[in-house]
Amino acid sequence: MTARQQRMLIVILVLIGVGIATTFGLRAFQENLLYYYSPSAVQAGEAPVGRKFRVGGLVVPGTVKRTDGEIDVSFDLTDNAAMVTVEFAGILPDLFREGQGIIAHGKLNQQGVFVAEEVLAKHDENYMPPEVAESLKQTHAGGPSK
């Protein structure tokens, strides 16, 4: 083996070694790397109890309730399998609307209602002009997903 081949081997081994180490490291911290839990996971009791976490899902159309004269708002989040009711007193992001992907940060209370301190909007990777979105809405009747 020439010195050059040896160096090549070392470079390849370093890459493989670091790759394997990182894979194990990331697998060990898998749970901490999840930015949010789905409503199904919350219902199944996978979300931490008594500690703050994030829940993400789509706002169920027709469940957004506002209190008159207050900024309090409540809405249901779903992943099309389970639902979580979220209460929030604060300013909602511009993209907040029914059917929108939302990530709420807060705690579950005794009644199983998620009391949020912060609400973020998640948008998907699709971009389109309003006319296209409108025609999609008419053909699918459910509107663009998320």
Partner: protein, 245 residues
């Protein structure tokens, strides 16, 4: 192929070659950037959800793509430098790092400006944003490590190892949005089944990406030229070139 490779690795040859290539890259970059920027900011339609706010994509996505591309380019150059003991390859890696750091910063900054109105926050510790921040630290660490070692050969080798170890972060940045739940959405351009945006939005974006690439080419070659001059300052060809002017 190897004669081409050896010829390319000769500093005076590379110096002349890059000098003649820089204007090409520069003018191509200017043409693509001007046309695509007009396409992106004026002729492309507004988004159905984000309105005109989505247009920051025309800077954000090319910058983010380039931040990963430059890293792979830099690490490949560093690997060639280590394996073949080619000094020119190290010079290329050195020249790339500050450009990579700049576009990474640009991607993070434009992402932050985009995130505030759309998501409702400047920053979130989700997998995509965090791994991109680590990418910035890798670039800065590479530059910092180099400047801490006076001897060029030793700096070359030490920083090359750092660049190679950091390669592991590149797939993490790319796949972070598919591997974990994240606030950042999935890839629009590399989506299964083709880009998730119509041609009048997509074409300016592709144009911007090509423009950014050419810009990188022009700036990188300019920086490599300078790096070669500094490294070869005592050689005969540099002295000949300087005195003949």
């Amino acid at each position: 192929m190897w004669t081409w490779f050896h010829k390319l690795s000769s500093p005076p040859h590379f110096y002349r070659l890059s000098a003649s290539l820089i204007p090409w890259f520069g003018w191509l970059a200017a043409a693509f950037l001007i046309v695509s920027l007009y396409g992106g900011l004026v002729t492309a339609p507004a988004d159905y959800q984000q309105g005109d706010g989505f247009r920051i994509i025309y800077v954000h996505v090319p910058a983010a793509m380039l931040s990963l591309f430059i890293y792979m380019f830099m690490a490949t150059a560093a690997a060639i430098g280590v394996i073949w003991r080619m000094k020119l390859a190290h010079a290329v890696a050195v020249a790339c790092a500050p450009i990579g750091a700049s576009v990474t910063f640009l991607a993070l900054a434009t992402g932050s400006i985009w995130g505030k109105p759309m998501w409702g926050t400047w920053w979130a510790w989700d997998a995509r944003l965090t791994s991109e921040l680590i990418l910035l630290f890798l670039y800065l660490g590479y530059m910092g490590l180099r400047s801490a070692i006076d001897d060029t050969n030793r700096a070359d080798r030490a920083s090359a190892i750092l660049a190679l170890v950091g390669v592991v972060n590149v797939p993490i940045v790319h796949y972070s949005v598919t591997w974990w739940n994240s606030l950042h959405q999935g890839s629009t351009l590399l989506k299964k089944g083709g880009p998730a945006l119509p041609p009048d939005m997509a074409l300016p974006l592709f144009g911007m990406i090509i423009g950014f690439m050419c810009f990188f080419g022009a700036v990188a070659l300019t920086r490599v030229k300078r790096e070669v001059l500094v490294r070869e300052q005592n050689s005969k060809w540099v002295k000949d070139m300087v005195t003949s002017k």
